[in-house]
């Protein structure tokens, strides 16, 4: 093997490696021998860090000296639902500083659930001469001033995507900072911005960028301006409208309809806030080409939805509110035979009772009619084991199944039994299941099924379920591919955690909140497992002030080679191996 490896010059090997882009494969390549390790590390251009605290910026830079694209994730997933207090962490600043010095040719930065400031944005805009792609997904900490710096300084910018970030809207003028000779924009997503951007600047920008493929507007862009934008960018592939409402006027309608018809490449639509149904027919001409349709902000009723979706025979991804109703999902099942992903969101999540006739039946219909269905996110208020078993048998090709029955602890509405057997059928039949979210009334039995069958499962979300530590033990001991486990409000305690401590080093992270884990167990875990960071998040003051048997509030455990982090706030307690409790 050694001889074979040496018989090729480095440049040849590097060229061969350039065809291997998948991180896992490149990691495997680097373990073959020292020279392959060396060649591979010099030629790795893209790095993905799933937990920004698992490794330090310096370690990444030392290993991979010439990275052009980096992706970082910060806060745990449950931060999306306000379970992680503000100030917990996820600051990108140390990464930007380190990379500004080490990677002058960095082109792409993708962040998820991280805190990025205007200063960070300015540093990015000035440090990387060839900067091309900035994607900020569910990030926070910056304002439109930071965006102005990016617009002004990044001459080669292709992508600016602010998906669902929290941006402080200081003014809409930031868009004007794109220079007049700037023409390289390919993708712009400003849907999350609240304020009006300068519309004339937007029009000019769209008009002078011939490669623009993706344009996701914010709600403040009125419908009567949309036609002008579309006429300037008929090559668009993905469009997010602004508010989809205007007084109903035939001239506005025909203008809009004509503009849509001119967009022959349009495959993805989103936006649709404040929909006036009378304007929906303007998109009918392009429906047959659509592969992605996000109507999850459109508060329109089932008949209008059916008319629209019924024309989208090539639809692969549909996001919609539960206004679609079971009847609408029947129609989708009949028309959209290519459907791969369905997400149904609740229109009235806090209502005590159903406000629309959307039940398990809609999902059953989809599972019957859409043979390519792989990914489901479904909010509803009733479910039965029978329905889940039917869905499982219909769709063994499912890879992501997230079911949220809105009321915690809801049993099978037909039998009043727990839903263990139904979810058990899902994991048993869907052998490639990667992601699963549970809800409803569940005992330890469902976890036994999961541990037994869900051998490819990578991410599991559990809430208000289970009876004892046995449940957690089944999952930790059975799910071989598990990477992320997030649990809230379950009666899981110390035993399963300590018994499966070694498992935690094979996972990215474990989140447990409002469970029955004691501080004593956390200390033990922290002392025994040096390659885990065991973070106790508790806003009630130091856990030592309470008896050791008192359950902690929130626990976040993640593997790391970087040791304890230095930016912990006052409500995060961690334990290191010298068995002293370290306060941040």
């Amino acid at each position: 093997m050694q001889r074979m490896a040496c018989s090729f010059p480095d440049e040849v090997l590097e060229h061969v490696f350039s065809f291997v882009q998948c991180d896992n494969d490149r990691n495997a390549i680097s373990t073959v021998c020292k020279s392959w390790y060396k060649i591979e590390r010099w030629s790795r251009r893209r790095v993905f860090v799933g937990n920004c605290y698992a490794i330090s910026p310096d370690m990444v830079i030392r290993r991979f000296p010439d990275v052009r694209s980096i992706e970082l994730k910060g806060k745990p997933h449950f931060a999306d639902f306000n379970l992680v207090p503000d100030g917990w962490g996820g600051y990108v600043a140390p990464w930007i500083s380190a990379m500004a010095a080490a990677y002058p040719w960095l082109e792409e930065i993708r962040l998820k659930r991280m805190v990025i400031t205007d200063e960070n944005l300015e540093l990015i805009s000035k440090s990387f001469k060839n900067f091309k792609v900035l994607v900020l997904s569910s990030c926070e900490g910056f304002s439109t001033d930071g965006l102005a710096a990016i617009a002004a300084n990044c001459r080669n910018l292709r992508e600016l995507d602010l998906r669902e970030s929290e941006v402080e809207d200081l003014s809409g003028h930031w868009l004007k900072h794109f220079p007049d000779d700037y023409t390289s924009l390919v993708s712009l997503n400003i849907a999350c911005l609240g304020c009006e951007v300068s519309f004339s600047a937007l029009e000019r920008l769209v008009g002078r960028c011939p490669n623009l493929r993706t344009l996701r507007l914010n709600r403040a862009v009125p419908l009567d301006k949309l036609a002008n934008l579309l006429r300037r960018a008929p090559q668009l592939v993905e469009l997010g409208t602004g508010a989809y409402s205007s007084e109903l006027r035939p001239d506005v309608f025909s203008n809009l309809s004509g503009a849509f018809s001119g967009c022959k490449e349009l495959k993805s639509l989103s936006g649709f806030w404040d929909v006036v149904p009378g304007y929906l027919p303007a998109v009918y001409p392009i429906c047959c080409r659509l592969t992605t349709l996000n109507l999850s902000y459109a508060t329109i009723q089932s008949p209008d939805l059916i008319k629209l979706v019924g024309q989208c025979q090539n639809l692969q991804r549909l996001w919609v509110l539960d206004y679609i109703e079971d009847a609408g999902l029947d129609a989708v099942a009949a028309s959209c035979k290519d459907l791969r992903e369905l997400r149904v969101f609740p229109s009235d999540p806090y209502g005590p009772e159903p406000n629309v006739p959307l039940t398990e039946q809609g999902l059953v219909s989809i599972s019957e009619g859409c043979s390519k269905l792989q990914s489901v996110l479904y909010f509803c208020r009733q479910m039965s084991n029978a329905a889940l078993m039917t869905i499982a048998r219909n769709r063994p090709n499912m890879t992501r199944f997230r079911l949220c029955i809105i009321e915690p602890g809801t049993p099978d509405y037909l039998t009043l039994q727990p839903l263990d057997v139904g979810f058990g059928a899902i994991v048993e039949h869907c052998k490639d299941l990667q992601r699963l979210s549970l809800s409803g009334l569940l005992t330890d039995l469902v976890f036994e099924y999961i541990g037994t069958y869900a051998k490819k499962l990578e991410m599991l979300s559990v809430a208000f379920a289970g009876e004892s530590d046995l449940g957690l033990h089944h999952v930790l001991s059975g799910c071989e591919k598990l990477r992320k486990l997030e649990i809230r409000d379950c009666p899981f305690g110390d035993k399963a955690l300590l018994a499966n401590a070694a498992k935690l080093e094979t996972m990215r992270s474990l989140w447990m909140s409002s469970c029955s884990v004691t501080f004593g167990a956390c200390k033990l875990l922290g002392q025994k497992m040096p390659r885990l960071n065991v973070e106790v998040i508790d806003e009630r003051g130091t856990p030592d002030s309470r008896p050791e048997s008192c359950p902690i509030d929130k626990l976040y455990i993640y593997r790391t080679v970087a040791g304890s982090r230095f930016d912990m706030p006052g409500f995060v307690w961690t334990i290191d191996e010298d068995s002293a409790m370290r306060l941040s």
């Binding site: 709600r219 309608f253 009378g278």
Partner: protein, 299 residues
């Protein structure tokens, strides 16, 4: 149309021992609001359990039980689910500034943090949306009857989006207002108000030119000119004018304005009616203590 709808279905409240209120108590309950003991009050229609700040100092009704779940069976659904009773799992939210939880709290929702698992971003969008087509919404620019565009769907919600001075979006929410004794109704933009006081003042201004209301006010015993005195509590709200402000909600029931938090009111109101107190049987509040000034007891 003006009669208070009777509660046909038994009101359910899983933890509330006073769930067997008789109808008259229920109707009285319409006019009563309090901060504690949500229980089985019809005024809680739509909103969820939990405690929330009241806008008006409406009077205590001696409800038994401090159930935090408001399992009111809607008149349109015959299911007797008490599924919202599991608020026993509720945790009080630690003070988080996230808007999703404040939305939930404003709705009096279950106080379980982060459940159901919906991103704050999505919740904000839902909250700020125009009202459902089921709600009658008029935009001053649109005249529905004149629009002959065949593309207009039936029952469209013609909510128009305006930008206020901050460039933030909000929807107009125009609802009809009729006053007993005045043949011509008016429209008021509810979204330009943030509380009941300003709304009531606006309505009083709108209808103040009518002699009817002035006579009623005088007969109510109040002397001062309500146009001049903007600080006193609205006469419409406390019933001293001989009129009460009522609204029709999504379910078609007529309720006394002022019992629920503003946000809830906005979500469920379809139209307003300034009703003669004598006709508002069971709607007017029982006044136990005065907020200053004389009060009528119209019941």
């Amino acid at each position: 149309m003006s009669t208070v709808s009777k509660e046909d279905n038994p009101v359910l409240s899983s933890e509330d021992s006073s769930s067997c209120l008789d109808e008259s108590e229920l109707e009285l309950g319409l006019g009563l609001s309090l901060g504690v003991g949500v229980g089985a009050c019809k005024a809680q229609q739509g909103p969820r359990g939990g405690q929330y700040a009241r806008i008006l100092t409406a009077k205590d009704f001696p409800y038994v039980g401090s159930s935090t779940s408001a399992s009111v069976s809607s008149s349109s659904s015959s299911s007797s689910s008490s599924s919202s009773s599991s608020l026993s799992r509720a945790n009080v939210t630690a003070g988080t500034k996230r808007s999703a939880d404040s939305v939930a709290a404003a709705n009096g929702a279950s106080q379980v943090v982060g459940w159901p698992p919906i991103r704050a971003y999505r919740m904000n969008s839902l909250v700020n949306q125009a009202k459902l087509p089921a709600t009658e919404v008029f935009n001053s620019l649109i005249v529905k009857s004149r629009n002959s565009n065949p593309a207009v769907g039936k029952g469209t919600s013609n909510a128009c989006v305006n930008a206020n001075e901050k460039g933030q979006l909000r929807s107009s929410l125009f609802v009809k207002v009729n006053m007993d004794g005045i043949p011509i109704g008016r429209k008021v933009d509810l979204s330009s108000h943030r509380c009941y006081e300003t709304l009531a003042q606006k309505l009083e201004d709108m209808f103040a030119t009518s002699s009817t209301i002035m006579n009623s006010i005088r007969s109510g015993g109040e002397e001062h000119d309500m146009m001049v005195d903007a600080i006193t509590p609205s006469k419409l709200l406390d019933g001293s004018s001989g009129f009460v402000l009522t609204y029709e909600d999504k379910e078609g029931d007529w309720m006394l304005v002022g019992d629920v938090p503003w946000g809830m009111f906005i979500n469920s109101v379809r139209r307003l009616r300034i009703m003669r107190a004598s006709e508002a049987n069971g709607l007017a509040p029982r006044l136990e203590e005065s907020n200053g000034g004389q009060r009528n007891k119209p019941i």
